[in-house]
Structure formats: C-alpha cells, structure tokens
C-alpha cells in the first residue's frame, strides 16, 4: 500500500503549536501508548482504539435537549437526578448519540484517518513553515505505537518537504526507533527517571529499553537534533539530584538540549469525560523549585 493510503487512529490535529519543536508547527496526535503515566495530560491518547467521551459541562441537559437519550439504541444514556449519565458498559460505540449532539458534549476521541488526508491538512500551513522553519510534529500517545502508520506519515511528510519531529516516550523496539530516526529532522524524547524501579512502579514499565534506545540515537544518529524532556512531577522525581543526573548523562553536543517540564493538570477534566479517576488528585507544581532548577540547569548549559 502506498504511504498516502495508510491509515491509523488520530485523536487531534493542532495548528500553531509554538513549543513542540522549531518554528510554527502542526501537531498530529496518534492514539495509543505503552506507558500509563499517572500525570498524563492526554488520557484520551492512552488506549489504542477510539473512545467515547461525555463532557457534562457542554451538555445542554436532558430537559433542554435530550437528543442523545432518544438516539441511543442500548440505553447507555440515562437521566439521573436531572443530569445525563453515561453507562460505558452498555455502549457499543455506534456513534448515534455523537451524531445528534448539538454541542459536542457527546464525542469520540480518535478517528481513522489516512496519511494523505493528514498531510493535506498539515500542508495547509506550509506558508507558515516556510518562514519559521516549522513543520509537523507527531505526538500522542506514543506515535511509534502505530509503527507502520507513523513511519508512513514521516516518509510522506519528507516527500512533501515538510520538516519532521516526533515526541516519543522512547519505549519501543530499537529497530523501529532507528527506522523513524531516518525520516526525522529532530527528535523530542522523554526521560522520566533514571531509577528503573521507580519508573516501573509509576508508569508500568522499567526504563531499560528507553535508556538503551537513547543510547542508540547517540551512537547512530549523532547529528540529529534531540530535545530531551523530563516532566518534573511532585513526589515522583522532583529533586535536584534526580533531574540534574538526567541532564548530566546527556552527551555534551550542541544538537542535544534538555528541558524540564513543569507539572500541570490541564488534562484533568478529560479523565472525567472518559469516566476515569484522575490519579494525582491534589498535587500542585512547585513554581519556586522549578525556577531554581532552571537556574541550576543554566549553569550546566553554557
């Protein structure tokens, strides 16, 4: 099959991204991730298959609207104490409620799209990439969790002369990462902790493969611009020692940068839409710590 015809599951395409790679970029978010980070700000990205979501704040209520109640053939939507309640166990994802919902309160995260369709959308901002050296960034989820699709996207972007970047958690077969790197202009790679035990406890897998993979990149793609990112999560890795150790293990090259990310809870409402609990309830970022950390890092980055 030609690259353009390849399909995969995408849950968002976002224009005018200013912080995920160089220039003005378009983000393509692929669904599915091998990790389960409790701080994940895109919970809708984790599972591979499309997921039904219900956002009660956008719902006009059953009294005013109620179209979804009528549309659902399986009684997965019911009114309890005046509010619409969504019973996932009865939902067959037929999509009828989504198609009648006027506000988008009933929605599906993830749809099947072809590489050609996606690149056509990405290409619309070509005039902005020209001036800013921007392009396409694949994100997720874990973009390499849909290997053939992600590779086809990168190849097709290259063919259309669009600058390519991926944001990866690094947990994928080394051979796959190697293939992806051949089509990349830049790589954004997460390292969450050097402590494998802790890594496994919190995100579900150890960090051995991830560290092996980044070593592979250092060795085999020494010229590829790489941005290493570490989300600084209170109670998980928010000590100077831990973060600075990650920074110190990076090779001293001008094409390798490091950026600590401040923890945030912007994704929290989406957990509720998906009917899940937010795992890190009540945690706040320590702005003061982050500021001091950045200053310490500055000394290491002359």
């Amino acid at each position: 099959m030609s690259d353009e015809k390849q399909t995969g599951i995408v849950f968002n395409i976002q224009k005018f991204s200013m912080h995920d790679g160089q220039g003005i970029r378009t983000m393509v978010f692929l669904k599915g991730c091998p990790l389960r980070c409790p701080w994940c700000s895109n919970p809708e990205s984790q599972r591979h298959e499309p997921e039904r979501a219900f956002n009660p704040t956008r719902c006009l209520t059953a009294q005013v609207c109620g179209r979804c109640l009528e549309a659902c053939p399986n009684a997965a939507l019911r009114v309890i104490e005046g509010g619409i309640v969504f019973d996932r166990s009865r939902c067959t994802r037929c999509g009828l409620c989504v198609s009648v919902c006027p506000t988008g309160a009933q929605s599906v995260y993830g749809q099947v799209m072809s590489v050609g369709d996606i690149l056509n959308q990405v290409e619309r901002d070509d005039v902005f990439y020209n001036r800013s050296d921007g392009g396409m960034t694949l994100s997720g989820g874990e973009p390499l969790a849909q290997p053939d699709f992600a590779l086809a996207l990168l190849r097709e972007a290259r063919r259309r002369r669009i600058h390519t970047t991926i944001e990866t958690c690094g947990h994928c077969p080394t051979a796959l990462l190697d293939r992806a790197c051949r089509h990349l202009d830049a790589l954004i790679f997460d390292i969450k902790s050097l402590d494998s035990e802790k890594h496994k406890r919190l995100v579900g897998v150890g960090n051995e493969l991830i560290l092996r993979n980044i070593e592979h990149v250092w060795t085999h793609f020494p010229l590829l611009p790489v941005l290493i990112r570490t989300p600084v999560v209170p109670g998980f890795n928010d000590t100077n020692g831990e973060i600075l150790n990650i920074r110190k293990m990076l090779p001293q090259r001008t094409n390798v940068c490091f950026e600590p990310l401040t923890y945030h809870r912007m994704g929290q409402p989406k957990y509720a839409y998906l009917g899940r609990d937010y795992p890190l309830e009540g945690i706040e970022a320590d702005e003061g710590f982050m500021k001091r950390l950045r200053e310490r890092l500055k000394i290491l980055d002359p």
Binding site: K15, F16, S17, N42, C65, P102, T103, D125, M266, E287
Partner: protein, 824 residues
Amino acid sequence: MLLATCCLSPQEERVEKKNVNRQGRKRIYEILDRVQFQTPSIDVERARYFTQSMAQTEGELLTLRWAKALKHVAEKITVYITPGQLLAGRAGKPGRYGILYPEIDGDFYEEVISQLPKREKCPFTVSQGDMNIILEEIAPYWKGKTFHEHLNAVMPKEIRGVTYDDELGLRSKFVVSETASYRSALQWVPDYEKVLKRGFIDLQNDAKKRLAALDLTNSLDLWEKKPFLDAMIIVCDAVMIWAKRHADLARETATAEKDPHRKQELLRMAQICDHVPAHPARNFREAVQSQWFVQMFSRLEQKAAAVISNGRMDQYLYPYYAKDLAEGILTRRDAMELLECMWVDMSQFIDLYINPTGNEFSEAYAHWEAVTIGGQTPQGEDATNELSYLFLESKREFPLNYPDLAARIHSRTPKRFLHEIALTIKDGSGFPKLINDEEIVPLYAIKGAPMHEALDYAVSGCTEARMPNRDTYTSGCVYINFAAALEMLMYNGRMRRYGDELVGLETGDPEQFNDWGEFYGAYKAQHMNLLEKAFQQQHIVDCLRPLHFATPFSSVLHNLCMDACKDLQSKKIEGGIDYSYFEFLGYATVVDSLAAIKKLVFEDKRLTMRQVVEAMKADFAGFEPIREMLRNAPCYGNDDSYVDAIGKDIDAISQVAAQKNSKERGVHVDLRYVPVTSHVPFGKVVSATPNGRKAWTALADGTSASHGADKNGPTAVLLSNYHSKNYGMVNRASRLLNIKLSPKCVAGDEGTKKLVNLIRTFCDLKLWHLQFNIVNRRTLEAAQRDPSNYRNLLVRIAGYSAYFCDLSPDLQHDIIERTEHSDF
C-alpha cells in the same frame, strides 16, 4: 506539553504593579499628568470666527471664502503656549479639547450640544458662556445651510428608507449609512515634506506666479482660477500669521518667565516660530515645529475623518535628524523628547463628533493621526532608518495611545526592524499596526498611480493609504450592513427592529426555497439591492459635497490642485486618482450564517428552515440545541474551505458590482472591511442571525472571525482571510484583521522570533492589514470589574488603540469575546 503558567505582557505588569518608568520624561509626564484623563471641553473659537467670516463672504467662490475664514480665524483665535512644552500650536484651550465645525452640523446644535456633557460615550463639557455663543452666534447662521440638511432634503425616498431612521436625518438606520454628513472629508495626509523643504513663502510665490500668468480675458481664468489662486495666497498668509502670533506670544511669555532655562527655551521657540513654516526648515527642531503647525492648521481647516495623519514621518524628518546628529546639535534623546512633546499635545486634541451616529463609529475619543514608519523608498528600496527605530523605542517606553503607529511591511523588511516591531507589539498596547506593501503598492499602481508614488504611500486613518499628491477622493464613504440583508432574506424584506416596514426586497418566505442555489440567489438579491442603493447614495454625496466644503490649505499643498486650480474637494481633478470605498459590515456574521443554513438545512437536513426561523424569532430562547447546532456549523476563520468559499464568492459578487459602478461614476469603488467600532451599533439593529448570534449584539468585525468561532489558531485565521480574497480582482481596499494572542504564546526570545515569522507570513499572504492584542482575558475582565485600577490599560480596537476603560460596556464585551489564541 507545557504548563500554561500565568504570563503577563509588559503592559499588564505596568498596569497591575503601577510601575510606569518615568525616568528621563519629566517634561512629558508633567504635561500629560495635567490632562490625561480629563473630560474634554469644547472650544468654540474656531467655529465662532469661521462663522463670522463666512457670513461676510456669501456669493464668492467657496474656496476663497474658506481661505478668508481661515485667515480670520488665524488672526483672532487665542494662541497658547503650554507650560513646559517645546512645541507651539494648539487649536483650542489648554487641556483636552474638541473644536466645532458648524459647516457640518451647526443646524442641530440646539438639539445636541446640551446633551454632550451627559452622553454615555465620549462626553464633552461646555461652559454656559460658550453655550450661549454656540446657540446665539454660531448655530443660527448655519440653519438651512449645512451639507447634512441638503443631503437629507434631496435624498430619494427609496434610498432614504435604508439610510435614516428619523425626519431630520440625524439617526442612522444602520442599514446603508452615509458617513459624509458628520465629518468634512475622508481621512487625509498633507504633503508635509513640501512645507519642510520649501516653506509657505515659496508656495505663496508659486501661487502668485500662476496668478500673474492667467489670461483674465478667459472666462475660466477669471471666474474660477483667479479666485482659487487668490485663496491660495490668502491661506498661505493665514498659516504664517498664525505661526507669527505664536512667536510673539513665546517672546512675551519669555519676558515674564523667571526660570532662566525656560526663558531660553521660550526665546528659542520664538525664533523657530518666526522662521517656520514660512521658510524651509533648517534643522530637526524646526522641521518638527513646522510639521506641527501644518497638521494643527489642517485641523482648523476641516474635520477630516480620523484627524489629519502624519504621513511618512521617519522619511521626511530623517535628513534633518541625520544632519543635526552629525553636527552634534541634537541627541537621540532630544529628538525623542521633541516627538513626545508632539504626542502629548496630539493626545489633547479630541476628534469631537456632534452627530450621534458619528459618535457611535469611533468610541473612546478615538483619533488616528497615523505615523507611518518603514516601507520602501519611491525607488523601491527598503526605507527603514534610525528614526524608524526611534519611533518604536519611544512607543515601547512611552506607550501613549497617540499617535497611532503604523509600520509598512514588505518582502525585504530588515530582520532587525521586524524584531523591534515584534518587541513593541509584545508590549501589549497594540502598536504598531502592520500594513502590507506587497498588497497595497501593486493595487495602487494598477489603478493608475505612478509606481514611485505608489511605493511612497503613507498610512492614513485606521488602515488606509494615501499618496498626498495623487489622491483626490475626499467624500466620507458608505457603510453597508450586510447582516441586515441576511435578516431581510429571512423575513421577506423586513427587519424585526423596524417592524412591518419593507426595508429590503420581498424575496418571499424562506421556507419556499428548494435548494441552496435558490436560497443563496435570494440572499444575493438582497445583497445587491443594498449595494445599489449604497452606490447611488454615495454618488449623491459626491455631487453635493463640493457645494459645501472647500480646503484651500490642503489644496495649496497638493500639486494637482495647483496645476488644475481646483480645490481638493472638487468632484474631479485632472490627473488625480479617486479611490473610493464602500464598507462591508458583518462579513463573518453573513458568511457563517449562510454556511450554517447550507450545511444544516440543505445538505445534512438536520434542521428545517422553519426551525431556524422560529429559533431566530425567539432569539434562541427555548431553542438552545438549535443555536448550538448553528454555532457548530463550519465557521469562517478556521481555514475551512467549505465556508471560506462562500466568503470568497460574496467578496467577488460585491467587487463585480463595484467594477460596474466604477465605470459609471469614474471613480474606483473598492470593497473595504474596516468597521472601526461601528460593528457594535450596526449589530444593534440586527436580530438573531443563523450563525447563532444573539439579537442586537455586535457583528463580526472587519474580516476577523465571529466571536469565539475561530478555534484553530491564528494561522487558520490568516489563511481564511487569504482564501476568501479574490486576488484576481482589483476593486478591493483594506481588510482589517484583529488577532488576540495570550502573552505566554509569544513569551521570551523564541516567542519574539515566532511573532516575526508570523508577520513575514502575513506579508507573503499579501493581506492588507494586521494588528495584535497581546493580553490575557482575565486582565480585561479585571479591568471591567475594577476600572479605576486599570485606567492605563490600552487595547487594540479597529485600526487604533484606546484605553479599555473609555469603551462602552458593549465594546468591552466585544473585545473580551474575541478568541484569545494561546499556543497549544
């Protein structure tokens, strides 16, 4: 993805922490602090002396009468020297003031003047003594003589029906609104350079030579050219007399002055005013003074829309600046102080609208004395110079809302200039606005301007361009409410605001349309009906204005007027190019509404036309699901070809009609999208629209998206604009585009770079105009709750910046509801 930590723009920091840096600006702040937030008062002197003279000269050529009247004003009007000021030349008393132009609206002063102190938007105070002068000396003379009465009396009934909502023609219907009767002329830029280089004695000698060369046995020479040239000679005298009186006053003031330093300043001022504008300027100080006299005298002459603009200041002042700097008689700091002296006096002259409709068009004491920087030289090289940077630096350090700073951008604009523009934009007070040479220069050239003049255009008013020796069109232009056309389509020619009155065409019950083609055809019929009436109205305006307005001072500065011996307000001047425009109000409102009906009613059939009409009639009360469906249909501003194609077609059909009308009238009739603040009052006559917009709320402004409809970020907004333009047609004028960004989105050096890239792309796309608001929504909301603490907060409106707290609640709401684009 990063955390959206709170991030303030420099302006927000200043306002919230009240830490304005006043260092090095003692003089400027002393002047500003005395006047900044005063309620302006009315100064009656200009109107009084103008009227006195006009009463004596009836029957003579209007230009000559005007010149005599200006000379009388120049001789009689009180002159002032502001304490601490380095520049002389005010058109009225100390503090914030507005002056009257009874030739425009003297006939209804009785009804309106007493209301001015009480009106909600832009109030003015007026003393009892002045009130008596207005009502007893000024108003009675003008009764029966004003342009506005003339227009109101002769306008045919069918056009009147869409124009006025009362017998007197004071209340606009806000369907097809004329703007010619509440100002003397369209925005204007005089040729300042000519005065700086030649001085008025030389210009007067030129008129004298032309006069001597006339053949007075020739009827035209005797009856048209001679009085015109007499007028030119008189008006040169007038401005020189006025300047001389300032020289005398400065000397007088110096005599009484105790502070030796100030005494020296006053004596120097006297010397300068003795010399300019009669003679050529010899240095930067004289050049700035001469320029200031010219613009202030222009204001005494006429009430041009947006107030007289400043032209390409970084160009014509540069030779003086460079020379003085080289000679060591001027420092960069001195130059900045002198210019800021001009800005603080500029901020005190308020563009007073007596006409209640006019007052709706530009809130918050708006005026736009655009200062143009950057761009290209007449030979097409980059024109940026050290003064261009100085203007930007002054704006960052001293962010007053006047003058309006406009940067011309082109494909070779230097990186440093764009970088400093981006830094200035990031400050958050809305300056500078960006105007695109790559769109304007070829358009003007193809419509007949010599290439070197097109390359030398100056920004004028909010987003327009002027070539001071080539432009000859001066009529205020028509504003057309196409959201009203949409409403007429839905209610068979009627509007809910105007009851059973048939305002548009009877296109029938909207439920009878079988498909999108029929429906859109009916919309086009309503659209074309308003357009036809608008063009007819504008032509009447063009025919009547020369009977009521003359501008000898502007004419003596215009090469073509001097060659033709015709006043600039004449209907036709040989060699001139007439760029006229018509204003499209409610672009995104119309486009989104049509797209919603096309999609939901005719294609997807999720709604019936009856449901849509019922929901509109109820202003969506009880029809929230329908409103949501309509709002979630494809919207302009998202780079969605489904809806942008409709926008493009509407733009095209309007231009086709304009092209035909251009041929008929012999002027360029061009489509413009610059509502200023009028999308608020025009929205007030339009009931609920099929894009889910509630009744009587603001229409979408310019070519910006409907409020909150642009969900895909600023690149999509720019692209929608691009894809809805018809680059193959030339009957187009300015398109105003607002983009609101959160400060975080452009934070740091990276943010500045990305803003620069965004501006480069705007230039590549050949869009006409772009302006930014870099402000957090919560700052605006806080300012609305607590105005006293946010008095200094400037926001960008529509081609100008204004203090947020000076805006009406409607307009404040309008600005808050514009989508804020943050990075993702």
